[in-house]
Amino acid sequence: MKRILISFLIGATLWSTSACKEEWLDRQPVNVILDSQVWNDPALITSLLANYYNRLPVHTQIDNNNGGFADYDEASWSGSGDGRNNIISYGFDRWRLWDYGLIRDINLALDNIQTSTALTAAQKTQFNAEFRFLRAYQYFELVKRMGGVPLVTKQLVYDFSGDPSPLQVPRAKESEVYDFIGSELDAVMDVLGNDGSNTRANKFTALALKSRAMLYAGSIAKYNNRLAAPITTSGGEVGIPANRATEYYTKSLEASRKILTEGNYALYRVNPNLGENFFEAITRKANNREAIFVKDFLVSKGYRHGYSYDNIARGLREDNLSSSNVTPSLNLVEDFEYLDGSSGELKTRTADNSDYIYYDNLSGPFANKDARLYGTVIYPGTSFKGQEVQIQAGVLVWDGANYQISEGNALGTTYTDGLLQTGSSGPQRSQVDVTNTGFYLRKFVDPAAMSSTRGVGSDIWWVRFRLGEVLLNASEAALELGQTAEALTYVNRVRERAGFGANSLKELTIGRLQNERRVELAFEDHRVWDLKRWRIAHDVWNGNPSNPDAVMYALYPYRVVRPGDAARHNKYVFMKLVAPRFRAPRQFQFGNYYSSIDQSVINNNPKIVRNPFH
């Protein structure tokens, strides 16, 4: 009886309090943000934008799949496991992307922002433009991997009629997707705002994306049709007609020209040491007028990545694990020319191939090379963070008739003559976390103290667009349009910053530009996409073990021990060899030009056409 009374009293109390506050059931939750709150608050929309910028798809990027740099022909893998050195052939689903989640979220945001009551018209226009920029960026990432994809620009809402066919959008033509990207960017660029920002999209970011996307479309239109059997589908989902090449190249060139004339950008030329200057051009955040669009990080806010932890040179590592995962190949190093314009092939043997060339110091063969080599790669005889990176494989001991190779089992070993045998940074043939190619990465590796530890990490930014690329885009588009004189001025500006004289190139071919892009934009996620759009990936990486492009090479420096021969004793010689841990030559098949579409996507939408060769 007593218990019943108590529960009645409690019930009565609760009822009476709720009666006093009529909105008891209408209170705002404290842990859920409502639609109406988001779309009426610029700060919340901005944080939503930050989320969407962060979700833009990546292939190889310093904070995501950075080991992927070792999957192509820029570098070999020296970390644990040999998987990346042993890719028999690239899977057809390797570059697959079908992220309509982000597109749906953007379409939803575009609709909801119009319903907002608290935003001003100017704010609405600006946010609207920024969302549409992100959608165009996402469609570019989709089309370069998959070919034409369904163009969904409105929310798809199911009406529960039992018939899903209104939701089943067929694939657009490849050219239609590129046209959509171009027209969207044209529509938003003047209202994007964010002037001067390089982390949020502004007018010049949009132009830079247009410059790149239209160049891709132009080269697919031109070079796909140069193939003996062009890759196309009957509905145009894949392949662009050849007669549209000029139009796309023109659009790309116009976009690049606008950035060059109207934008407040300049090639970074602050440091008189050209090699250091190129490194700073990509990594220095303050007063860097070269960067157009970057993904920024900040250690003090806890937003950081482990790129330096993964890739710092072995002898300089600050943590007890990892280091030296991605190690640049000799192939890439030799693609950097000498400053006199001669081929970049390193001279290691005499002209008649009878003997080694003896160098006084480890950096001998690299003297007078393109300064971008120093900014990209740590090669023997150079330093990083003010310390020398000791790269020496061992010693060559003269026994009276031949050289005997002697390599130390450990790092930093001393030979019997008391001098260095194997350097503290290798290279070694089979040990993990030591370079097996004789080179280390410099580009994007953080020189700040403790940045290569897991505890602190690095906040070097990732450059999505920079002026160097725009100049090369402009040069390529102008060359393809037959405006060679103009093309030369752009590419020569890029080369001049690398230490070549003014107007170092007098004539230009697409082959020269292809090499120029390879060295300028190494490790910036361009290589595989460039080879794909030029339709040469299947030739460069044809899986043939005797093809020097498909196989990764290494350079091993040795000190000569030959007492009594002053011209040779304690000099350095260099050996070229296939990277010891490299197994399978790179093979790119025709079916790799467009990634396969997941079967579940086709099952759900029978209107989706499969890509060729799958």
């Binding site: 028999i88 193939l227 299947h538 899986g543 043939n544 005797s546 093979q587 025709f590 060769f613």
Partner: protein, 188 residues
């Protein structure tokens, strides 16, 4: 894979067929890779399958007609294809430090041209464009006239000692995969 009752040689790990089985919720292809001698095999449950030749995948003309396959225990089927070119009467000999080979290339599908004819030599029985120790090619004008037999010469690579395995491959312009002769053994 057969053409005129003869197996068609391809590269290992390159050319595939796909098997499909309808009637189940999980509908995705079962890739079947073809061995270098043109044979293939798959372990399947009893049932009715559809076998499809992928477009643009092998060294033969596209034919996407479905082949119905009823699997009841062990089942053997022949998959007919029409190669763009065939290689007949291949010969391989050692002559001094060289390997020589000759063969007649026959056009089967008109409208295609030969891009390259290559002699591959390897140290194992797996020999093709991606597994070899050395190769020699003819291309351009050397393969323009197919009425006479072609002959190729290759200096034996240093890595090959004792027994060499040799094979000829013909590449059709615009087709990624090559058609190969059966692997032959040559004693050096």
């Amino acid at each position: 894979m057969v053409y005129q009752n003869q197996p068609v040689g391809v590269r290992t790990n390159g050319v595939q067929l796909e098997l499909w089985q309808r009637g189940y919720q999980l509908f995705s292809k079962i890739p079947v890779f073809i061995n270098q001698d043109g044979s293939f095999s798959a372990s399947l449950f009893d049932g009715d399958y559809k076998l499809v030749r992928l477009r643009g995948n092998g060294p033969w003309a596209d034919n996407t007609d479905t082949i119905n396959v009823q699997v009841r225990g062990t089942t053997q089927i022949d998959v007919p294809v029409q190669p763009y070119f065939t290689i007949s009467a291949p010969t391989f000999q050692r002559s001094g430090t060289n390997l020589t080979s000759s063969a007649q290339i026959n056009q089967v599908v008109s409208g295609r041209t030969v891009e390259q004819v290559t002699l591959y030599v390897g140290t194992t029985q797996f020999v093709d464009a991606t597994n070899n120790a050395g190769s020699a090619s003819l291309s351009g004008t050397a393969v323009a006239d197919l009425s006479k037999p072609l002959s190729l010469t290759l200096a034996t690579p240093a890595a090959v000692k004792g027994t060499a395995y040799v094979r000829l491959g013909v590449k059709t312009a615009g087709v990624a995969e090559l058609l190969y002769t059966p692997v032959q053994q040559v004693t050096l």
